[in-house]
Amino acid sequence: MDETVAEYIRRTVLKIPRDEIKTMLQKWGLLSETQLQTINFRQIKENISQDVVQLCEEISADIKQAAVLDIIYNHVYPNKRVWSVYQMKKTGEETEFFDLTDFKKKFKRRLRSALKNVTINFREYEDNAIWIRIAWGTPYTKPNQYKPSYVVYHSQTPYVFISASVLKSNLPLLCQALVLASNYHDIREMELRSHSLNSLKDIVFKRYSQNFQTHYPRPLQERNVAPESADLRIIEENKNEKERIERVNREVFGDGPQPKLEFAQYKLETMFKSDPQMDVLDKKEPFRCLVKFSSPHLLESLKSLAPAGMADAPISPLLTCIPQKARNYFKIRERKHFFPGSFVSP
C-alpha cells in the first residue's frame, strides 16, 4: 500500500471523535467485523489509527477506498464545512428519468477529459442525496487528498450544494461537469451560504414551516402556553401589545423551527441622507457600507427579537425575507422612484 494512502487513512481516522470511530469503520465496510474486533477502541486515538492503517495494509487498500471513509466522515459532520447553493436551469420540458449510472459516467468523463489527475468518489444516501467527492490535482501533480471539494445533489431538483476547497480555480470545471451530467444547460451561484447543510436544503426545498392562511386548523397548532402566574397579585400590564407582537411574529416566521444560518450580509450602495444644510459630502455618490449580522442561529434570534422587546414588530422585511428569497447576501441600491427608499437587487 502506498505511503500516501497510509498517511491519509491515519489522518482521517484521527479526525473522528474516539467514540464514533468504530461505527464509522463499520459503515465504511472495508474492514471485516473480525478485523475490527482486533482493535482496542479504548486506547488513545494515535494508536487506534495506527492499528487501522495496519489492517488496511494487509488488504492493500487504495486511495479510492480511503476516500470513502472521508465521505462518511463529512456526511456525519457536514457542519464543519461551509456550503454554497447553486441553481441549475434547463430549457426543455422533457420529463426527467434520472439514471444514476448515466449521471456518474458523464460526470467522470467530463472531469477526466479536462484534468487527468482527479480522484472522484460517489456515494448515494437514502434521502436521494448523491454525495460526490473530488480531489484535485494538476496536469503534473497527483490529486491533493487533503483539500477535496464536496458536491451534494438531489436528483430531479435544480439545486446543487457545493463545499469547494480552497482551490477555487477548479470551480468552473466542476460546474460544467455537473450541468452536463444532469442534463441541464446552465448553472449559477445563489447568494445563500451556511455551515448547516440540512438548513440550506430546508430553505430551497421549502421544507421549513411557512405560515399559510387556511380555513381549517392544522394539527400542529397547539402552542406551548406558558402557565399563568399563580400569584394573582401580578398583573400583566401590556397584555394586548404582547399578544399583538406574538401574533405578528407568528405570521411572519411560522410555527416551527427556523433553518439554521450563521450570518446575513447587506451591502449598501445607497446615498447618504443628511440634512441638506449640513452637506457632508461634496459629491453625490453612494455611501458604501457593509452590514453583517452573525449569530449561532440567526433566524431564531431574529424571531425572538420582537417578543424580547428589542425591536418593534413587525421586523423589517429585509430580515424576514431571507428563507423565502433563499438568500442571505443582499445588495441594496437606491430605488429610482419618486419616493426615495432602497430596493433589494434580484
Binding site: E96, T214, P217
Partner: protein, 304 residues
Amino acid sequence: GASASLLCFPGPVMLFLAGVFAHLERLEAEAREIAVKQEKMKQEEEKRARLKAKVRELKLQRDKLLAKLRLQKKVKLREKRAMSDPAKSGARAVLEWKIKNVKATLQVSYLTGINGKRTKQGVCFCITTAYESTYLDSYYVHLLVKPEVQIHQHSVPTFIPLEQIAKKYLQTDIGRFLSVLSDHLNAYAGRKYQADQLEEHFSDQIEGTLQRNSLCNLLVFNYKLSSKSKTFPFKARLLYGDLCCSLPTEVNVSCTCKWMVWGSVWESGVGRPYCGSADGWGFFLVEFGDKREQAAILLRDKRL
C-alpha cells in the same frame, strides 16, 4: 341724681365733664350696636349651619331615591328581556346555527382536495393529496392577483415542475393551473405512498433497500420469491413515465442467476426461449436486447 350731687365747680370744669359724659354715652351706644350686630351675626350663622345640614340631609335622601330608581329600572329591563319575543330569539338562533355550519363546511372543505382562502394580497390555495382512501400531505400556493396573477409563496417540492405549469396556465386559466398542479402532486404523493408501503409490508422479501429518486418515478429493487425451500431472486425496475399518474408505464423484471431444475444445473439457451417446469412452477426464460437481458416469467400451476 346728678342734680343731687350738683357740686359747685368752676365753669370750664363743668364744660369738660359734660364733654366726657357725652363721649362715654356715645361709646356706650356704639358698644350696644356692636353687641346687637354680633348677636345678629351669630344668629345668622346658626341659621346658615342649620340650612346646610338640611341641604346635606336632602341630598342624601335624593341619592337614595335615585339609586332606588335605577335599581328598579334594571329589574324592569331584565324582566323585559326575559320576556322578549320568542319569535325574534328563534331567528337569531337559526342565524347563529347557519354561520356555525358554514364555518364547519369551510373547515372540512380541505377534504375536497383543493380549497382556497382569500387573503389581503390575493388567495391562498391548499391542495390536499390522497391515495385510495388515505389522506396524505397538503401543499400550499399563495397567489397574488395584482398587478397580474403570480405566485407569491408556496410549499411545493422543487422536483414538481411548478414553473412550467405556471407558465402554461397561470395567466389564462387559474382553474386549469390548479387542476394540473393537483394531478402532479396527487400522483407524486401516491407513488411515494406506494413505495413506502412496499418497503414496509414486504420488507422480508425485498433484498437491500428500495432505490428511488426524488419524484418516486423510478423504482429499482431486488426481491425474492420462495417456494418449497427454493428461493428465486429477481430484480424489478418500475418506470412511471407519466408524472400525473401513480401507476407505472414500464416494468422490467429480470433474473440472472442459474436455476436448479430437477437436481441438475440448467443454463440459459442463447437466443431461444426456454420452457421448463418443476414442482408445479412453469417458467419461460426470455433473452432480449443487445445486452442479453434475461427475464423470467414464472407461472404457478394452481391445480397442483
